[in-house]
């Protein structure tokens, strides 16, 4: 068998001349077929990329619009709040000015009084100084009161804001027991007491004797007595 195999391995055949050309054409065709496939994939990839990018841009723009709208809403809200606060501040300033004018007036009056006192009374300068101190203390007290009032106003402002933000929920009405329900309950209780119960708790039906069936003493038909209770005779 080894002899046969060696003969087989040594054997060669001459290939026809056109075989390589045929093979070359086939290889070229395969190369051409592969190229369009790659180009198609490229186009597909580019289209997909474009779609993805446009989608992402649209999403980003949409989000920015939303943000702008929210910012506009916030700005308007803040502007409104500022406007309200300005109005409140103005009113506060007016109040403060009024208070200051009153204070000045009072101080002026006190000073005048002091001057008059100085003029009229024979009190020494120490007394006038004491009066000044007292006036200073009173002015400090009034300042403190004004500051407290401001704080109170600011607190009320915040409370107002909270009230605006809170959603007004409809108040749930409290349920009360109606008179009809109470009466029904009373009737139920009565029925329970009237109906006798057995040891097992089951209602016992009434006997026929106790029922409302008529129990006559005498039965007469065409003047003839058919039944009498006392005699218990029948004709």
């Amino acid at each position: 068998m080894q002899n046969l195999k060696s003969k087989y391995d040594q054997k060669k055949m001459r290939v026809s001349d056109g075989l390589w050309d045929r093979l070359e054409d086939k290889l070229d065709q395969a190369g051409k077929e592969e190229k369009p496939k790659i180009i198609w994939w490229k186009y597909a990839a580019v289209i997909l990329l474009m779609i993805g990018l446009s989608g992402s841009f649209w999403m980003i723009n949409h989000k920015s619009d939303m943000k702008e709208n929210q910012e506009f809403v916030n700005q308007t809200e803040s502007e409104n709040q500022n406007f309200d606060s300005k109005i409140i501040e103005r009113s506060l300033n007016n109040d403060v000015e009024k208070l200051s004018t009153l204070k000045n007036n009072s101080e002026a009056g006190n000073q005048k009084l002091a001057v008059e006192d100085l003029k009229d009374s024979p009190t020494p300068l120490r007394m006038t100084e004491e009066i000044k101190r007292e006036n200073q203390i009173t002015s400090q007290v009034t300042d403190k009161e004004i500051s407290i009032k401001k704080e109170e106003i600011s607190i009320s402002k915040s409370e107002e804001k909270l009230a605006q933000n809170e959603i007004q929920k409809p108040k749930e009405r409290t349920k009360y027991i109606t008179s009809s329900d109470l009466l029904f309950g009373v009737e139920m209780d009565r029925a329970k007491t009237e109906t006798p119960k057995s040891a097992m708790g089951i209602n016992i039906s009434k006997s026929r004797n106790d029922s409302d069936f008529p129990n006559p003493k005498r039965i007469k038909i065409f003047g003839i007595t058919l039944y009498e209770k006392d005699s218990a005779t029948t004709k």
Partner: protein, 185 residues
């Protein structure tokens, strides 16, 4: 020679057409004889050879090194030739068990192999026997491998090989008797 083959192989891996042509010129003669040993038709064998080379050049990355290229290409040629026969010629293998009596015949054929003309065997041997004989003797495949390639049982492969050898023995005995008769005349 080896260095040249290595350079050609490395260029062919880069799909260089000249390198591919030189590889074709180097191995086409041998591969055509292999294909023809199965198909027994030159034109069909050339078609199979062309397709085998096309596969080899397009999937050359699967071949690890230049030394194994020849064997790798031969494997492709043999497989393509077998698939060509299976698609164009319907071969039915009768399921037979391999027995000791058949095994005895193999040793007798080995003595005759010196005088056997290879072309005659490849031309005259029935196709069913030839496939198993070629795979077993020339490709040195085991019966298990042959059974997998031809989709038959291992026993059938063994019995087909023994029958092929018996056919060879009978054929050459017949040839000898004819030659003797001719010489007597």
């Amino acid at each position: 020679m080896k260095q040249d083959l290595q350079q050609i192989f490395s260029k062919a891996k880069k799909y260089d057409r000249l390198a591919q042509k030189s590889l074709f010129e180097l191995f086409s003669g041998k591969m055509l004889s292999v294909a023809n040993s199965y198909i027994n038709n030159r034109d069909d064998a050339e078609d199979v050879l062309m397709n085998a080379f096309y596969k080899a050049f397009t999937k050359i990355d699967d071949c690890r090194n230049y030394e194994s290229f020849q064997f790798w290409l031969r494997k492709i040629v043999v497989n393509d030739a077998i698939t060509f026969i299976r698609t164009n010629k319907h071969i039915l293998y009768a399921e037979t068990e391999f027995t000791d009596s058949i095994a005895e015949q193999i040793d007798e054929v080995d003595e005759l192999s010196k005088d056997i003309d290879l072309d005659v065997i490849l031309r005259e041997m029935p196709i069913g026997y030839k496939l198993v004989f070629n795979l077993s003797v020339f490709e040195e495949r085991k019966h298990q491998e042959i059974a997998e390639i031809l989709n038959i049982t291992e026993g059938t492969s063994k019995s087909q090989l023994s029958k092929a050898k018996k056919w060879l023995k009978d054929y050459f005995n017949q040839q000898n008797t004819i030659q003797n008769a001719e010489s007597e005349i």
